[in-house]
């Protein structure tokens, strides 16, 4: 093993110790940036406790920008007396909060509304994934 003295490398030990600290700051900043952007990498409804399929990659803001979805309530909707309210949105609520609300709703019915909303629009717009394996991708690291 070769040991360099401070003089040979021109770097003081004191400064070397600064490197991990700077790294930590950069890491923390990027994490905060990611969170403030609100970009969630997966749809992860807490109602699915034991998922049967790989998680669905969904970069929220990037997806909606690419797909040109400006209205939040296109997905985060609110209904009253069976009619969709154009002026309200249910941002911040999970789909399962309403779609599993009644007794005879099961996980299958929650899956149903996710699929109808996601796949339904993809079919209508002729863009975006439509097959099980295209959304529930394996080893999508």
């Amino acid at each position: 093993m070769v040991v360099y003295s401070e003089k040979e490398t021109g770097v003081e030990t004191k400064h070397l110790l600064m490197l991990p600290a700077i790294g930590l700051v950069i890491l923390a900043l990027s994490v905060i940036a990611a969170y403030s952007q609100g970009d969630i990498p997966f749809v992860k409804d807490s109602a699915f406790e034991n998922p049967r399929r790989p998680p669905v990659a969904f970069y929220h803001d990037e997806h909606n920008e690419k797909a040109g979805l400006l209205e939040c309530n296109g997905c985060h909707h609110v209904y009253e007396n069976g009619k969709k309210l154009e002026s309200s949105a249910s941002v911040g609520m999970e789909c399962s909060q309403c779609h599993l609300a009644s007794e005879n709703n099961s996980a299958i019915d929650l899956i149903r509304v996710y699929h109808l909303q996601c796949r339904g629009c993809h079919l209508k717009k002729n863009a975006g994934p439509i097959l099980c394996g295209q959304c529930h991708q394996k080893n999508d690291n």
């Binding site: 049967r52 299958i108 019915d109 079919l123 002729n126 439509i130 097959l131 099980c132 991708q137 394996k138």
Partner: protein
């Protein structure tokens, strides 16, 4: 991809279902008419009791002498037929799609079990293929259409397994999976797969004949 998916998962499903139902009705009615013409007494001595007894006897593994003579074939055939019907009807993914279309749902198999049962169907198809190729007495009776039917039965299971496990090309496999399921549905009434339709009547016929003869009051 979107256009193909919509055709294959929409109008083609209806077309396949209608051909299957009308084709099956046609075959059953035609066969009934033929039986009535060739043997006018056939319906009068068909007995519900002996029919059910014979059907029951033949759906219990090893209940019949013939099955006891061929133990391996019996085990494979029973495992094959159970999985063949249980997997498509009780597969979670199928029920999800049916619920999306009609809002009906029923009990489903856990995915790992459906996976093993799919492999049983594929394995049994390979066994049947080997039997047709290697056993002289079976090869003698085999025609080309037997191989086609075997391939037709295996295809939805191979493509389903392929797309579930997302092996390379799984998108194509998923489309082929839907198409091959529709093809097999259309094949049932018009090929030897129609034994699915005729089995109850065949057993009913044989059962009534034997039951009635053996228990007939001998004047």
């Amino acid at each position: 991809m979107h256009a193909i998916y919509e055709i294959v998962s929409g109008p083609m499903v209806w077309l396949a279902a209608i051909i299957f139902i009308l084709g099956s009705l046609y075959r059953l009615i035609f066969m009934g008419r033929l039986a009535a013409k060739k043997d006018p007494m056939v319906f009068s001595y068909l007995s519900v009791y002996y029919s059910l007894r014979s059907i029951f006897h033949w759906i219990i593994p090893f209940a019949s002498v013939n099955m006891r003579k061929h133990p391996i074939m019996t085990v494979v055939a029973f495992a094959f037929h159970i999985c063949l019907f249980a997997v498509p009807i009780f597969l979670c993914a199928h029920i999800i799609l049916i619920n999306e279309a009609w809002q009906v749902k029923w009990w489903y198999l856990p995915n790992p079990i459906a996976d093993v049962m799919t492999l049983i169907v594929i394995g049994a198809c390979i066994f049947f293929l080997g039997r047709r190729l290697l056993l002289r007495e079976v090869r003698y009776l085999t025609t080309f259409s037997d191989f086609l039917i075997l391939a037709g039965v295996a295809a939805p299971f191979v493509t389903g397994f392929w797309s579930y496990h997302q092996y390379p090309g799984h998108e194509t496999a998923a489309i082929l999976h839907i198409i091959s399921g529709e093809i097999i549905l259309v094949m049932i009434p018009f090929t030897r797969l129609s034994h699915m339709l005729f089995f109850p009547f065949l057993r009913g016929y044989a059962g009534s004949e034997f039951g009635a003869v053996r228990n007939a009051v001998d004047w």
